[in-house]
Amino acid sequence: MKNSREKNTFWVLIVLSGLFLLSNTVRPVSNIRRVAVNILFPVSEIIKYPFDSIRVFGERGRTLSDLYKAHSLLKKEKERLTREFRDVKAVLDEYNAFRKIFDFEDFIPAEAVAARVSVHTPENYFDEFVINRGRADGIKKNDAVVKIMGRRRVLIGRVNETFENSSKVLLLTSTEFRAGGITGGNVRGVIAGNGGWDIQFDYVPPGSDIRTGCEIYTCGTGGIFPGGLAVGTAMEIKTREFSMGKTVSVRPFIYPQNARYVHVIKIGSLVKEHSQ
């Protein structure tokens, strides 16, 4: 009895299912279904809404948790960077303090080598001293030796002899020292050491406009020194006999004997400066 009822139900359901399937081929029925789906769609959306809300809430929770983790990581990173910054600042302060001590300036040429005066004997007090840089540091004979004073590169002398780790510097005040010079008023002459504190600016053309107090620089045409190295201030102007021009007594901006730390400008950099 039960079996026959089940079989009858089965056939009824199969016929109904077949009708549903066939309804796909009939346009009005398809339209009715579309309408039914449109009506039932909001119902399914309502059913899904609380679950979607829970899902969205969960996602927000996850996002918040991720943000919290990211925040913690960033906080640690910030602390690390702050510590690092503090260390770097301390190093920078120390570096700036050293710069101040050594009178380093930003415009020091890239190829300049800082050096310390290691030997300065009384026998050669006006003639030469020894610095602690040599061939191993790329120093060559005739490299210019300067002292950085504020924004100025003041001429001290030139490298006369090089060794592996030291060099002899011929000083500006030596009687053997010669360099091409020029004044701010474009008057040319020869800078020469005098074996004493003051130096000379010789072979100044007669009738040229040179006065006491005017500043003298290297002219840069001698092939050894770059132009514009400050030398000193004109103190006394003498006119030589027999139309030999004028001789000017010059007080150096710095006496080479007072220099403890200097810079050696390599000849290679000099050539580069001139070619620029």
Binding site: K2, R5, E6, T9, F10, L13, I14, L16, S17, G18, L19, F20, L21, L22, S23, N24, T25, S30, R33, A36, V37, L40, F41, S44, I47, K48, F51, R55
Partner: protein, 150 residues
């Protein structure tokens, strides 16, 4: 039964939203049809299959009546197996579900071909889909037993 259909449908939708309806999806309503038929026999199996299929067909796009007829047949066939295996035989449940869902999937493709609906036939996907559902089937069986025991 209507409560079971609606609850099953809601869970089915949620599972599809979170697990996907492709090869990796679990067809909960089909599994429920098979297992209700195994537990309660042909009558309830085919009725559950018919009404759950109708609800799904009405609320989702596709061929109207496709799931209705296939699940009715599925409920009827699985119901015929009631009492022919011991209740704790998980291997039997697995293989029967696997075979029924393979037949269900191929029949679905066949119906779509007949009615000119778009279809994709990938034997690998069908096997994977059937195996996944067959794995879940014993769990659904236990839940159905639990519900009906109450």
């Amino acid at each position: 039964m209507s409560v079971l259909i609606v609850t099953g449908f809601i869970i089915h939708i949620l599972l599809h939203r979170h697990l996907g309806s492709g090869a990796a999806g679990i067809n909960l309503l089909t599994l429920m049809t098979i297992n209700i038929a195994l537990v309660r026999g042909k009558g309830q199996g085919q009725s559950f299959g018919f009404f759950s299929g109708l609800l799904e067909d009405l609320l989702t796009a596709g061929l109207l009546g496709e799931r209705v007829i296939l699940r009715t047949l599925l409920g009827f066939t699985a119901g015929g197996m009631k009492g022919k295996f011991s209740e704790g035989n998980v291997v039997f449940q697995f293989f029967m579900t696997f075979i029924l869902i393979v037949i269900y999937s191929f029949s679905s493709v066949l119906l779509r071909i007949i009615f000119g609906e778009p279809y994709t036939l990938s034997i690998g996907s069908i096997i994977l889909y059937s195996a996944l559902n067959a794995l879940v089937s014993p769990v659904v069986y236990k839940i159905i037993i639990f519900i009906y025991a109450r």
